[in-house]
Amino acid sequence: MDYDINEDQKLIKDSAHSFLSSECNAMFVRDMEKSDQGFTPELWQKMAELGWMGVMLPEEYGGIEGNFLDLTILLEEMGYFCLPGPFFSTVVLGITAIMTAGNSKQKESLLPKIAEGNCIVSLAMVEENASIKPESILVSAKKQDENFVINGTKLFVPDAHIADKIICVARTKNAGNKEDGITLFLIDKEAAGLQVTPLKTFGGDKQSEVTFKNLVISSDNVLGEVDKGWPAIKKVLKYAAIAKCAELVGGGQRALELTLENANEREQFGQKIGSFQAVQHHCANILTYLETSKWMTYMAASKISAALPCDKEVSMAKAWVSDSCRNLQALAHQATGGIGFMEEHDLQLYFRRIKSGGSSYGDADFHREIVAQELGL
C-alpha cells in the first residue's frame, strides 16, 4: 500500500503546475471561453514539446512511456487551472481509442503526429438520447462495396470544430446484443458529408453537433474490427470517466484554496470569517469531499494503470467524485459569500466545470447502477 506519487509523477505534477500557472491564468481561461476556437495553437505546441500528448504513448510513437496514473496526475493540474483546449478529446479519448483498436498502420500514421501536436482528435459518440449505453448508438454505417456510408447526428462532440480526425462510433449491424454491431470510423475533417455545428455550453468548453450525410468512407478507415468496436469504446469511457474525475479533483483543490484565501482574509463582526465554526466546518467538509475524491480517483487510476479488472472501482470513483465535487463547490460558494458569485471571481469557473464534468461520461446515478450490478444486486 503506497499513497505517495513516485518521483517521476512528482516531476510531472510540479512542472505542469509551474508551466500552467504561467501559461494558463484565469484571464486566459476566460478569453478562451469567449473565443471561437477555445484554444491557442501556440500553447498546444508548447504542451506537445513538453511531451504531454505522448504521456501514455510508447517511445516508438514519440511518447514518453508513461501510464494512466501519470496522465491522471497531469489532468489534475489541468483541472486546477481550467486548461482550455482539446487535450482531453485528443489524448484521453482519441489516443485511447487508437491505441486500443487501431492497427499498426493507423497507429504509425497518427500517433506520432498527435504526439507532435500536429493532429487533434475527437470522439463522436453521444447522440440525441444523450446516453452512453451501447443501445444508444443509432448513427448508421452501411456497407457499400469497399466503403461504408454513414448517416446521422452526433451531439456533444468535444472540440469537433478544431479536430483533424473525428472517430465516429456507428452502428453497422442490428443484433439482439446491442454491444455487437458497433464500429469505429476514423473520419477526416475534410470528408464530404461531414458537418460540424458548434453548440454553446455553460461549462466553458467547446462541443459540437456533428452530422454525417451520406458520408462515404473506405474500409481502411475502420478502427479495429467491423461490428466489434464496443469493447474499445467501453475502455475509452472508463478512461474518460476517471480522467474527468482527475480534472474535477484538481478543480476542487483550487475551489478550496479560493475559499480559504477569502475566509482567512475577510473580516466580519470583528473577526476573520475563517474563525467562525460554521465556516470552518464547511471548509472541513470541503476537504473531506476533496480527499476522498482524490483517493477514489487515484485508486481507480492505479487499477487502470495496472490493467486490473476495475469496472466497479471506476464507477465507484465517478459516482463519488461527481457528487462530492458538486457538494464541495456548493460549500465553497456558501463559505465565500457574495464575491464568489461574481464573474470576476474565479470560483464560478469551477462551479460550471464541476457540474458539466459530473454529468459527463456517466453521472452518479448511472455509475451507481453499475456498482449495483457489480455487487450482484
Binding site: 454553446k200 460554521a278 446515478d365
Partner: protein
C-alpha cells in the same frame, strides 16, 4: 386552523396571471433578466406601472397612499404569483423603502414618496452592502458628514443591484463616527443622478448585472434623511423582520416546467417520469415546495394577526432558498448532458432556463442574510440560545 386560500385571493392570483400573460413580452422578460430581476429599465417600468394601477404593487398599503388595504396573505400571494409569472419580485421601493418610510418617516416624507412608489413611478436600489460590510451591516463605513443643511457623502458600495436603472438609492451611511458601530448609521434617500456618484457594472456568474457604486463628495439634502439621524441600523433590522421573506414563485415555475418535461421526454421508450429515481426526487421537491409555502404564508398570518415575525422569517428564507437550489440541481440532473446548453445554443432544452436558474440559485442562500446568519438568528432569537 385553515390553510386554504380565500376565494378572493384565488381570484386575484388568477387575474394577475392572466394580466401578465397578456401584457408580458419576451423583450420585457429579457430586459428583466439581464438587469438582475429588478425592474427599473424602460419595458419593466411600463408593465409595472400597469400592475401598480391595479393596486398590485403595494396591495397592503392604505388607500390614501395608493394601496388596496389588502391582507398580508393577499400581498404574499400576489408577490409569489408575480415571481411565478417571471415579473421580478424584489421591489426595493414597494417592499423595503416604502414600508420603512411609512413606519418611521415624517408626514412630509410620506406624502412625497409613497404615492410615487405605489404608482410605480419610481424605483429604488438597495444601498446597504459595502466591501467590508456584508453579513455584518453594522460595519458600514460610507461617510456622511453633516455640513449644515446637507450631508456630504464619500465611500463605496458593493453589489448594489439595479443602481444603473433605478432612480434613487436607499442608502445606509455613517453619520456619527464616534458612536458605537450600531448607533451611528442613518438611512437616506439619494438621487442616483447626483453629481459625484459613479456606478460601475459587476457581472454575476449567472450573467446578470450588479454594481459597485462610488460616492465622491455627493451632497444629500437633510430632508432626505429617513426618520431620525443615527437610527438607520435599527430601521434596517426592523425592516428585515417585516420584510424578510423569499417567495418561491419563480422556482416553483421552474419545477412545473420540469414536471412537464419529465412527462413528455421519452428515454428508452418511456417518459423519464417513469424512472423511479426521478419520480422520487420530483415528489420530494413537490413536498419541499409545499413545506416552503406553509412557512411563507405563516409569515403573512403572523403579520395579519398583528404580530411581527422574527425567527420565522429567517426560517422561511433559509428553507426556501435551499429548496430553490435543490429544484434547479434536480433539473440539471434530469437534463443530463443537455444541462450544459445555454439559451441560444442549438439543441438547448427548455430555452436553457434550468442552467440559468441553477446558477442564479447559488446566490439565494447568500444575499439578504446567508443561511448561516439565518441559522444563528433562529437559534438565538427563536430558541433563545446563549450568546456565550
Amino acid at each position: 386552523m385553515d390553510f386554504e386560500f380565500t376565494k378572493e385571493d384565488l381570484k386575484v392570483r388568477q387575474e394577475l396571471r392572466e394580466f401578465i400573460e397578456k401584457e408580458g413580452t419576451p423583450e420585457m422578460f429579457r430586459e428583466t433578466e439581464d438587469n438582475g430581476d429588478i425592474y427599473g429599465a424602460p419595458l419593466g417600468r411600463e408593465i409595472i406601472k400597469k400592475i401598480a394601477a391595479k393596486g398590485w404593487l403595494t396591495p397592503g398599503w392604505s388607500k390614501e397612499y395608493g394601496g388596496l388595504e389588502a391582507s398580508e396573505a393577499t400581498c404574499y400571494a400576489i408577490r409569489d404569483e408575480m415571481g411565478y409569472m417571471g415579473v421580478p419580485f424584489g421591489f426595493v421601493a414597494a417592499h423595503m423603502a416604502g414600508p420603512t418610510i411609512m413606519r418611521f418617516g415624517s408626514e412630509a416624507m410620506k406624502k412625497e414618496w409613497l404615492p410615487r412608489i405605489s404608482t410605480g413611478e419610481i424605483e429604488f436600489a438597495l444601498g446597504y452592502t459595502e466591501p467590508q460590510a456584508g453579513s455584518d451591516l453594522s460595519a458600514i463605513s460610507m461617510r456622511a458628514e453633516d455640513k449644515g443643511d446637507y450631508f456630504l457623502l464619500n465611500g463605496n458600495k458593493l453589489f448594489n443591484t439595479s443602481c444603473h436603472i433605478a432612480d434613487y438609492h436607499w442608502l445606509a451611511a455613517r453619520t456619527d463616527f464616534e458612536a458605537a458601530k450600531h448607533k451611528g448609521i442613518s438611512m437616506m434617500i439619494v438621487d442616483l443622478k447626483s453629481p459625484g456618484i459613479t456606478i460601475g457594472p459587476i457581472i454575476t456568474m449567472a450573467g446578470w448585472r450588479t454594481n459597485e457604486v462610488s460616492y465622491e463628495d455627493v451632497k444629500v439634502p437633510k430632508e432626505n434623511i429617513v426618520g431620525k439621524v443615527n437610527q438607520g441600523f435599527y430601521y434596517m433590522m426592523s425592516a428585515l423582520d417585516f420584510e424578510r421573506n423569499f417567495p418561491l414563485g419563480r422556482y416553483r415555475r421552474i419545477f412545473d416546467i420540469m414536471i412537464k418535461y419529465a412527462k413528455e421526454t421519452i428515454v428508452d421508450d418511456k417518459p423519464i417520469a417513469k424512472n423511479p429515481l426521478i419520480r422520487q426526487r420530483l415528489a420530494q421537491m413537490a413536498i419541499e415546495i409545499k413545506a416552503t409555502y406553509l412557512l411563507y404564508y405563516n409569515l403573512a398570518h403572523i403579520l395579519d394577526s398583528g404580530r411581527i415575525p422574527t425567527y420565522e422569517a429567517s426560517m422561511e428564507k433559509l428553507f426556501a432558498t435551499e429548496v430553490a437550489q435543490r429544484i434547479t440541481n434536480l433539473g440539471m440532473d434530469m437534463l443530463g448532458l443537455y444541462n450544459q446548453l445555454v439559451e441560444d445554443s442549438k439543441w438547448a432544452k427548455l430555452k436553457g432556463s434550468i442552467q440559468k436558474y441553477y446558477q442564479t440559485s447559488i446566490v439565494e442562500t447568500i444575499y439578504a442574510g446567508t443561511s448561516e446568519i439565518q441559522r444563528t438568528i433562529i437559534a438565538t432569537k427563536g430558541l433563545k440560545m446563549p450568546r456565550r
